[in-house]
Symmetry: C2
Subunit: 355 residues, 2 copies
């Protein structure tokens, strides 16, 4: 029994550019619409619109699913700035414009995350004092909330200390608002816990963060990410992306080791494997990156969500749910308040909005 709130504002979903093709993304939208009572406006090449009208007429008639056509598609090979400049009718651009026009509450894309970040920045503009948005990825943690927030997970490769300090403020406010933690512990990702370690970037970012009202724990290491001692881990988008994908790789690697051990091992191994299966399944589910679905681009004036390029239908559905929650919680309001309270990190002379 799904409760449908007819007044819910739909989420704009970019069907194009994901690694698994538009059909998989559309399947995710259908799950969200049918199973979760979501409303979605899907954006893609015109042929998809014809198919949606034909195959899903009842959902379209009920106003649960709509389609808007776009002429261009941003590929994984497109450079961010070039995508914004030359693909003005791309599906991700059109999807962002639906939010900007007030027809949608948030936008989600599984496409080229750098190009999407640049496009969303261009269409929405940034929150006052923010130079660049960051992808804020939730990772599992042994801490009290069960989560830690890593940002930037890949939106911005070339960073300044001010970028990192701004993301500390944004990440802290997001984490506090999402998990009811009054003062989240904020660390800067580096190569050691001593203050003299790290790069010029991480040391300067830490010095800036220590001038804010945040609870700053200092430099932290890769192994602290999941250990619960720190809630918000700030880093440049290159390092953050490497850390996140390394963590995903280790989980996949261990899953393979476990499978090999308990399906090809001795009789005891195989029996133990069979009996420990439910436990393993729970562990695997708790680590499934699809559950998080998508990560918000923090620092923009409207909610934009980046989903993994390899997202399957289930991940897209979870991503749409995450976007809806973000809107319902009014995270953007909390972010603007946090920025106003920490003027030391505000960019005063911003580069032009266009990338």
């Amino acid at each position: 029994m799904v409760i449908i709130a007819d007044d819910v504002v739909p989420v704009a979903l970019d069907l194009m550019g994901g690694d698994r093709g538009a059909d998989v993304v559309l399947q995710g939208a259908l799950k969200a619409v049918v199973d979760d009572g979501d409303r979605v406006i899907a954006v893609g090449v015109p042929a998809l619109g014809e198919r949606i009208a034909r195959d899903h007429a009842p959902l379209v008639a009920a106003g649960r699913l709509a389609f808007v056509g776009a002429d261009d598609v941003v590929t994984m090979d497109d450079q961010p700035a070039a995508a914004v400049r030359s693909k003005r009718r791309s599906s991700m651009r059109v999807a962002c414009e639906l939010v900007q026009q007030g027809r949608c509450s948030a936008v989600l894309s599984t496409g080229n995350s750098g190009a999407f970040s640049a496009t969303a920045s261009f269409v929405f503009g940034r929150l006052p004092g923010v130079a660049r948005p960051a992808i804020a990825a939730l990772v599992p943690s042994l801490g009290a909330t069960g989560h830690a927030l890593l940002l930037d997970a890949g939106a911005q490769v070339a960073c300044t200390p001010l970028h990192l300090a701004q993301w500390g403020v944004l990440g802290s406010a997001y984490f506090a608002h999402s998990f009811g933690v009054a003062r989240p512990a904020v660390g800067v990702l580096g190569n050691g816990e001593e203050d003299h370690k790290g790069t010029a970037l991480t040391r300067a970012a830490l010095a800036l963060l220590r001038q804010t009202q945040l609870r700053v724990t200092g430099p932290c290491e890769g192994r602290d990410l999941l250990h619960g001692g720190v809630d918000v881990v700030v880093t440049d988008g290159f390092t953050g992306n490497v850390a996140l994908k390394t963590a995903e790789g280790v989980v996949a690697f261990l899953g393979q080791l476990v499978k090999n051990t308990f399906t090809h091992g001795s009789v005891v191994d195989r029996l133990g494997g069979a009996l420990s299966r439910p436990g393993w399944d729970r562990i695997r589910a708790s680590l499934d990156p699809r559950e998080t679905g998508a990560a918000p681009l923090l620092g923009l004036r409207r909610p934009a969500f980046v989903a993994h390029g390899q997202s399957d239908a289930y991940a897209v559905r979870c991503g749409l749910r995450a976007a809806r929650r973000f809107v319902a919680l009014d995270v953007e309001g909390a972010l603007a308040t946090a920025l106003a309270r920490n003027p030391v990190v505000r960019s005063t002379r911003l580069s032009p909005t266009a990338p």
Copy 2:
């Protein structure tokens, strides 16, 4: 039954500066000497020498264990260049000098890795054409050899494209020599598989590597590290350290999840946990970073090994074994040959040897 080769040249072991104290490092030396038939010259503050002479007189008399005193200790808070400049009688410096004098075949330290790298560079000098040494860390992998090599794992934070390209040549030669792989696959760690991704550093390093005779696969991602598609992963010491420690953190995190699930779960969970214990113990052993023990500093004229600051006695023993194998395989000879074959990566105008 331990076979003792009386003509084996001892390894110099820095007793000081590790996180667990000199006693733990000494215990590792004793294991190596007693169980593996190693010969070790331990270097530390004079009080340790008195204790060794008193408590381990038979080993000392047999020439298996010796002690050399040092007045200074490099701490984790010392900056690398300052340690070389101002602590000229530090235990790590004295240990390196034992190798330089021909009294030892290799040196191992669990102390400040940046300071040790700078000290060993200063005392040994670098191989012709190498600007900086790199910590070459073996990680487990699903590939044919069961290993991948990550370098630099933390010796050099500020890097140039030439540094990374040199490490590609050194890492490839080391991997080929150690595992009998003719042409290891070499990748540059980055934030995506497309050539336009990455930083100016990674793109320029890749362009240089493509001018060598190596088998270069292109940019690789954090998740490729353990997946077997790439044998040698090149990166700057900051990013490499973050990736390595993130991977360690995920393994520890999963171990904790497994423990919680199978010791506090349902009856089925606990029974499954008990029966799957042997399999899980094998998995844990295969991932135990102590087994690798220590990582060589590739690019120096003499073998120097960096062990984890938190190494326990078992890790120190494994590290001494790794150093002995490295010497026996004449890895340094293979490295010099590889550098001579790839002149495009040689530094012609080197900065002075002293850091």
